[in-house]
Symmetry: D2
């Protein structure tokens, strides 16, 4: 049996490629949308992708199952559990609790494990005929390393009232079944640290049933009620684009057979786009952005959080262009297509050429040690763009809280005549926030260097 | 003044990028269709492509003028000479003999130089204000290094009766004007050695008026008649796709803003395509093809002649797939798009995977030294697929002549029961020819190793 | 805790990178010699490689511990178990059974697990302070997925008399301790399928203690004697270079701080090298080699077995050059350096240029169906170059057995006047064997197409 | 005949590859030191590099003739003109005025053309047997497009007293011979715009004898004296490293057969190097450097002027490391090796990792509009680091002039207690200058944004 875990850092998401070496048949579990990765493995190891499956209808990325099916002719086996509201509405073969199927000689057994979502299933793998006992379970967003899937996404992101309580209770029941499995079974989950599908995911790729039983907080409860309470506590805001993902993953949509190639833009084309009001994302580092950027662009750095903030801030039905380095366009195209943002129409790399001929805008910053003085000025306000949980856990006195994801909708709460000091935890999100304000004509915007963390360090220091 | 010559070996074609360093305006002369090359230069040297021009309506490749205009907003300046049949039928600014225009401080003066085609123009460049005298002429397919443009393409490829005589006479007149130019002027032509737009082009990139006057055969004539005779003599068959190029370069057509990205195919997709009868071109070396190829594929090696034979052999309205190495698909896509073959739908690189699971077809060869014996068998025939001029200059006794470009249309002249020995000059074209026969069910096809040249060596050797 | 498994297919070898996210300290376990891989991870994930360790003195590849220590300043923690003959003779910090050390907050506990080698240790990892129980064990060549390390390498490759019995008994004792570990612990071994350090390794990357207890053949024995017998049975010949590796991994040797860059050779330089008798390895596919190769070169294809056969066939104190594709030289350089072959002096890619100007040698083959007839000729001999176990399991009647690794030393057993049909299992090793014979002046060498496997298929077919 | 011009922008230097297609022999004229470029051409076009020549002993870059000779076995044909002080002191075949040699069928005729240097020769090329008249001349640093070679380098850089007058007179005589050549001959010089070997070189790659006669300023003189005066006037300071180049190009020195591969450094290694006082060059953009750099590093941006300033500022006998982007190390290694700086020992790309854990130094700037006010402070001084000619042509009132190349030697002329505003023409050289001051403990260093040019614009603006 061949086994490969494919981990996509920008989504903190794991998919799995499992192949039978005897028959050369393979399955992909929870494929991401830029499916060339799987075709490449199949080619390198000489497998035929004959099956595709998913643990559940994903909310945080666009599934690549249909892309992969189109390119390979593989069979799509998808959950038919979860009731009428949770049925995939495009052609597939349905899976129910207790179903089994073979990928060559490898046996997959379906376990219905609702909680994160109603239709969620897991797969127990047995490497027949060598063994008659299962060696692995693919748990998707059911059991993570050190955590379990959050049951409140639907309610928060998709707006399904009361869903989170029902989900939490289902999770409790599903975990009971999980505890029945033998200790030695390997656990391969669908996400790692950094995913918004849980709150405390570990960074280790996999675990075992036995180890999770003794170390995973969620498996320490014998009573439903305290478990439900603990599970729902302290979950971060889910990105708004999750609702869109959920929908697109369930219904018919156009299939994208490869990573789109976008045009590199000349200075003239970028000028034209800016004039027309197109959204242009400057993906360079916040340092470079602060030192000088093209007026009207917004800053979302091309790091592991790019997909997340692009999903929050960009619109699905409007064209977008990016400013990036020469070698980054492929990574950026993938990050966007993975969450269904298929409207990337151009990229621009020639900042040197631009600088020679245009005036740049700067983004000033203030050091934490100067903040106290700055706030003595009545006309200065501090805005904290972190998550609500972060804000509640501690914040700068007098700071107003506006989550970065809501900033564009709440601009009228701010006053262009005031000096506005923006901050987040470390300076990344507030760079984006400042750029949004500048784009909307705020002239007196300042970034707090190092964010809340640096401010805290300074405060603790001066207190001691 | 900035000057760069862009030479595309697969077309033996030169285009030119000329920029004014004072104003940053630039012009591209005779752009090929994969115009990212010019955008890259503009970016690297910080120019704005503000003008595009052509020396004439090309027959051997698809012009990229409209692609480039769309991407840059540049003005297209095109010949309005040549009479009603030779007018570009899409929007442009017209040029006539004697017109001048400025690219920044650089002056371009239009000379009408018909002969190769009726509307053909050349450009005299003066680097003002530094100089008041021209330093260069861009001659397109008028004067090459050591040759002049052939006037018979229209008649042969486009089927315009009698055009070649008229063209040859116009060429004689145009050359008279050329001789009036000062010796010191640099000559930058549109083609180099290997182009089908002339018969004896030199490999040196450029020349001078004075040197051509003393060394170019076509400038040694004072009388029209012998010049016309000499010019029309011994011109090779123009590829049939030239007619299509001529047409597409004159009329409205869809614009392709970048090199298309094609899907890499799995084994399964290739199997399906072959079953459906799609044309699949194996672009590997003739050696590898002979050692083992996928039945039903035809062999056109990915070398400098690829564009030419793809133009001859592929259909403009049918999809095509290619077999190639991992790193070759970009080069192949460009070669096809440059001649307007925009129907490349997939590429396949996984020959190792295929070989493991399929039966391969071989292409046997015969050594020249064994040919005489082989021909003693009555049931054996030799087919020479070279050009008619090559055939007339000398051939194997008894060989039948079928130009490779016509082979598919003349298959019924051959007998599947006979043993057929194919040859060309060196073995490349005959590998393609053999593959066409095999694809059409001929089982007894043999390639003459080393072709006519090797046979001649052997014959001369044994004669001495 | 950050965990990454680095799998090198050419050695079927796994190394591990484990980092503490709190302190940014990391450890590398069993590094291969091209250590840029680990530096790259450290940079990407922002770790400092502070520790390096090994499970044992490797025999199948050159350890990169010293390279990595030199480049990072990391501490080298190495086994001091195994007695006086098994001590690393270069500076390091010693580890003994029961020792523990911390990598940031991650605790490593040393278990002495002799059997494969006397000094072999394993590492139990506990992710403190989050957990007080171990979650993983790094077993090196002690326990693999589905197999255990072979104890006979020393005796066979290093010539230590009687060592294999002692090793097998130690392995039995070590496995007893392994069985005491909790079922849920993840097992991360040092090799995967294809390694010569065991005989039946699984292809799945990791396992668990509990699953191995029920599925690994070696853990099913309660008695020592039958275990020892089973363990020593049917182990393949270890490559001769293993003795050299063992030695170089124990003593001082020059450190190579990066993958060496070798010169690309012109045709003239290759000609000169061949004249001087240098070993030139043609790493192209056996198909291309058979169709035509440069006389005097030997064929070792650049696939996952390349390191192994290079180790068998090349000399450590002689320069070597390779023929390869444009993009392969980095992979080949790494494969050679990983087993300490640091004498690569040039590479040649220009086969097209060579073919134009030189005579090529062919390597003829015979189809299995023609073998019976061929053997009717008294002057024809079949040579089987597979391993002795493969030969004993079944062979062509009358075939002589000479292991490929010994062929160069046993050429005088063969007769240049006879027609020699070489074969292995599938045709790869026999292509190498044929090339060695051709290089030594054997003119009548033939490869059996598809090898023993194809012959068997044919025989079974005709028998049915 | 095959002709290719190889232009290296970082040196503004042209070398030439000329091959005879009949015999496959080729020559390289004035090779740069990273000679893989020529080997690549030879391979691509199937030539054998059989000859290497130089127009003269170069002062601005290290010749690659010996590297290329070692790799190809080609014959080195070098000037034996110029008298005893100008003889190459390593093995070669000597060339004198009037000598001819053949590269295949291509005839080269040697013209002794002293002026720039005493031993300087040019090559007239005749493409026999096709033509009996020369078509090209390779003029090296004799005649450029629009300029001629400067005769004062020896005196200024190599310290040869009085040499410039003698050279200027020789140049006058050599130009007389040049004027005798036919107008139609193509002129291919050794440098383009930006080279320090002349003062007004054109950007067009080549020219013709006739065109230069009418447009090159240096060919307009009939009298020696005014010519000499004009020629010597206004030549810029030659870089000090020119003397070293001159020497190394004449004598035996170690040959470097390929571009050296340097180690990528970890954060720890860079820390150690800085502690030890090693020179570390930050090659990032001046913007990034200003925003934050590692204390103790100096800024030389990786652009076309990098070789020049590296030559000025780095020492030939001390190790150096660079900070650069991921993809830049090859280009930087080449730029350094081309001028013989072979002591590059490491490169560092992980600025993000560094920033997370270290304090960065900033480089403040002042806007031109604020300069006047700033200078009212008595304790502020302006330093102009441009060339002396630039300074003499106009400068900011009160500015002190210290050429960037001399700054390190003249630090004691500056006062650490003063505020020092550095400027050059546009801000690049002054960024380097500021970094040198900061490295030496000057804390109050400020860069004038946009340099003299921006200041002039502002001044003119406010004056109008």
């Amino acid at each position: 049996m061949y086994f490969e875990r494919i981990y996509e850092e920008g989504l903190a998401q794991a998919s799995y490629f499992v192949g039978c070496q005897a028959t050369k048949d393979a399955i992909v579990i929870d494929p991401k949308r830029d499916v060339d990765t799987y075709l490449e493995i199949a080619k390198r190891k000489n497998f035929r992708i004959a099956f595709i499956t998913e643990t559940h209808i994903h909310a945080d990325f666009l599934s690549g199952s249909r892309e992969l099916a189109e390119l390979t002719g593989a069979r799509m086996l998808l959950s038919d559990e979860g009731g009428p509201d949770w049925q995939y509405s495009f052609p597939h073969e349905g899976l129910k609790d207790g179903d089994t199927f073979m990928v060559g000689n490898i046996k997959f057994e379906v376990m219905h494990t609702p909680g994160h979502t109603p239709e969620h299933i897991s797969f127990l793998l047995t490497d027949t005929p060598a063994s008659s006992r299962p060696s692995m379970i693919f748990t998707g967003d059911f059991v993570f390393v050190g955590d379990v899937g959050r049951p409140d996404l639907l309610e928060k992101a998709a707006g399904v009232e009361g869903a989170r309580i029902i989900g939490a209770k289902q999770m409790f029941e599903s975990l009971k079944r999980f505890k029945q499995l033998p200790d030695y079974i390997q656990v391969w989950p669908g996400h790692g640290a950094g995913s918004a599908c849980g709150k405390a995911l570990g960074a280790v790729p996999g675990s075992t049933v036995g180890y999770e039983k003794i170390s995973n907080w969620a498996l320490q409860y014998d009573e439903e009620e305290p478990f439900v309470k603990a599970l729902l506590e302290g979950q971060p805001e889910p990105p708004v684009y999750f609702a869109m993902m959920k929908k697109l993953n369930k219904v018919e949509r156009p299939v994208l057979s490869h990573v789109p190639r976008v045009d590199e833009w000349t200075i003239e084309r970028l000028e034209k786009a800016l004039e027309e009001g197109m959204t242009v994302v400057d993906t360079r580092s916040k340092m470079l952005f602060a030192y000088g950027h093209i007026p009207g662009t917004i800053n979302i750095q091309n790091n592991n959080a790019f997909s997340n903030w692009a999903g929050w801030l960009l619109k699905y039905d409007e064209p977008v262009a990016v400013i990036c380095g020469e070698h980054e366009i492929d990574s950026i195209s993938r990050k966007l297509m993975r969450i269904g943002l298929d409207n990337l129409v151009g990229y621009f790399t020639n900042m040197d050429g631009w600088i020679e001929t245009h005036v740049m805008e700067q983004l000033p910053h203030i050091e934490p040690c100067d903040l106290e003085d700055a706030l003595k000025d009545d006309n200065t306000v501090v805005v904290d763009v972190r998550g609500v949980n972060e804000f509640l856990a501690g914040h700068i006195k007098g700071a107003r809280h506006i989550h970065l994801g809501e900033l564009s909708q709440r601009l009228d709460e701010l006053d262009k005549n005031q000096r506005i000091i923006m901050h987040c935890a470390g300076g990344d999100r507030s760079s984006t926030a400042c750029s949004i304000l500048q784009k909307h004509g705020f002239k007196k915007v300042i970034n707090l260097a190092g964010g809340y963390n640096a401010w805290l360090d300074k405060t603790l220091l001066s207190a001691s």
